[in-house]
Amino acid sequence: MPEQASRGVWVFVEARRGALRDISIQLIGEGRRIADRMKTQLSGVMPGWKLDGLAQEAIEYGLDRVYVVEDQRLENYLSRPFAKVVVTLIKKHNPAAVLYGASKNGRDLGGRVHAMIETGLAADCVKFEVTPEGNLDMIRPAYGGKSLAHIICAKHRPQMASARMNVFKKPARLTGRKGEVVREQVQIDEKDMDTKMLQFAETSGRQSGKIEDASTLVSGGFGLKNQANFKLIRELAETVGGSIAASRKAVDSGWVPKDIQVGQTGKTVRPAVYWAIGISGAVQHLAGMQEAGKIIAVNSDPNAAIFDIADYGIVGDLFQVVPELITTLRQTKRT
């Protein structure tokens, strides 16, 4: 695809169970900023079913145009038909850049699309800039969050990237904002529909997937020595009104479920307060929590890396410190 001909910034807008996903709204906000910097238009590409209200909603968050592909078979996300829709529309309209959310589905889709059209895709970006040459500077954490890599896709179009969830702010919705809704037809055949979704089970509440939303997290590590000792973490969490989380080593040891794991192979969290108990602070762990508002660490090793990024801490034996802490906090709360 000739570079000169490509124009416009696109965002993949995912409608999930009748609503726009938060990450899609965040992406519209960041896409708007990039399109303005590039002095071009921002369009959304939205495959799905019964999208009328959602297409207008996406416009009200900042799209100039939304390409809507409505088909009952697109009601739920599936890799193959969604990739076909996105690839078909990219080939037809030749955008300069396409952004996806770095959700599971966004990465699943972007990974397939980038191979189908042989263009660059930067994963899990936390920042975007525009270079003096007009290329998208796609910035992502590298090496366990110790560095930020700037990724450029100069010779291929579209330049594609996924944006990390909950990094970009949700834009304000301007009710009545005007934009263009373009209805597109994409032929979806039997082969595209060879995969079926048989079942969806929503995980609710505290049980799973929610440590990202907690404002206080009390996280336990390998220093707890065994599963039974995790009760100290639960007690402290109750005392300070937080949810529990864990390091990879605690999860790998089978003490707590994987869905509360913080770190590079777990979840990225940004609570107002993060208590790190018996966590030494491996790079991979820090990558998942270093953006917490305040970090409070308890560890017996004064040289533990966790103290380098802690706002507060106690060097000491957690089996003495944590019970004392619980007692003291309970007393001060009563008074």
């Binding site: 990465r107 980038h114 300070v240 192979t265 801490g313 000491g316 004392e324 906090l329």
Partner: protein, 276 residues
């Protein structure tokens, strides 16, 4: 350019597991001069999610019979990881190794692995880890599925085979989805979704006897040089910044427990930390 992988009639199950050798998680270090990941002289291991993918393959083989080929792309030192996978129970190994492949981003990597899979022959299930711990993109698995034009099920915590179809339980942000697709297909497996077995003594002896690993060059799998390596990669890393974390308060207390806790709680209250 890659040809679609066509469906094949029923016969012995054939699985390919794609793995990568990565620096050990706790050893990740950035070279202060080149600002790239130190790889030389750093202890390495099989990318942890790939070990879970290997375990899925071995369990499928135990249930349904068949043959497992483990595939990697990289320098010859990656045979360490292939040997470990063989000792865990894989039947044969393929090392795709060529200087021309150095510096490949996810586009040539996915293409080269796809071509190597064609070379391996008829394949029913391709398994990958959800992502690697050194570059964390998760793009190569779906990329292979795209190149080969086959269905994909990503981020699986459980993979089963029934009635000639593959069923994967995907862990998504708001819950679990069960997807089912025909073969050939590509499935990516989540880190920590099973307890991978250790290599066995008989497995190690099997590896020691040798002859299980085949090395392929770029030319062997029919890849043109301009599609490979840095030249064939659409993306470049233009620069790397060292992250400057915002300075933290660093009020660290030590000494006698009662006293240290009292000091900490006092500081937390003074600074109005929520929950205290």
């Amino acid at each position: 350019m890659t040809q679609p992988l066509a469906p094949k009639p029923a016969r012995k199950l054939r699985i390919v597991v794609c793995i990568k050798q990565v620096p050990k998680a706790q050893e990740l270090q950035v070279d202060p001069v080149t600002q790239t990941l130190k790889r030389v002289g750093v202890p390495s291991e099989i990318n942890p999610p790939d070990v879970n993918a290997l375990e899925v393959a071995l369990q499928l083989k135990e249930k349904h019979g068949g043959e497992i080929t483990v595939l990697t792309m990289g320098p010859s030192v990656f045979t360490q990881s292939l040997d470990r996978a063989l000792a865990m129970g894989c039947d044969r190994a393929v090392l795709l190794s060529d200087r021309l492949l150095g510096g490949s981003d996810t586009v040539p990597t996915g293409m080269a692995l796809s071509e190597a899979i064609h070379k391996i022959g008829e394949t029913d299930i391709i398994l990958c880890g959800e992502e690697t711990t050194d570059s964390s993109t998760g793009h190569v698995g779906p990329g292979i599925a795209g190149h080969l034009d086959i269905p994909q099920i990503t981020y699986c915590v459980d993979v089963q085979m029934a009635d000639g179809r593959v069923r994967g339980k995907r862990a998504v942000e708001d819950g679990f989805e069960v997807w089912e697709c025909p073969m050939p297909c590509l499935v990516t497996v989540n880190f920590g979704s099973n307890k991978p077995r250790e290599p066995t003594l008989s497995g190690k002896i099997k590896v020691k006897r040798g002859g299980l690993t085949k090395t392929l060059s770029a030319a062997d799998v029919g890849l043109p040089p301009e599609k490979l390596g840095l030249k064939g990669s659409p993306t470049v890393v233009s620069k790397v910044d060292t992250v400057m974390l915002p300075p933290r308060g660093g009020k660290i207390f030590k000494g006698e427990t009662k006293h240290a806790v009292a000091e900490l709680v006092k500081a937390l209250k003074t600074d109005k930390i929520p929950g205290v």
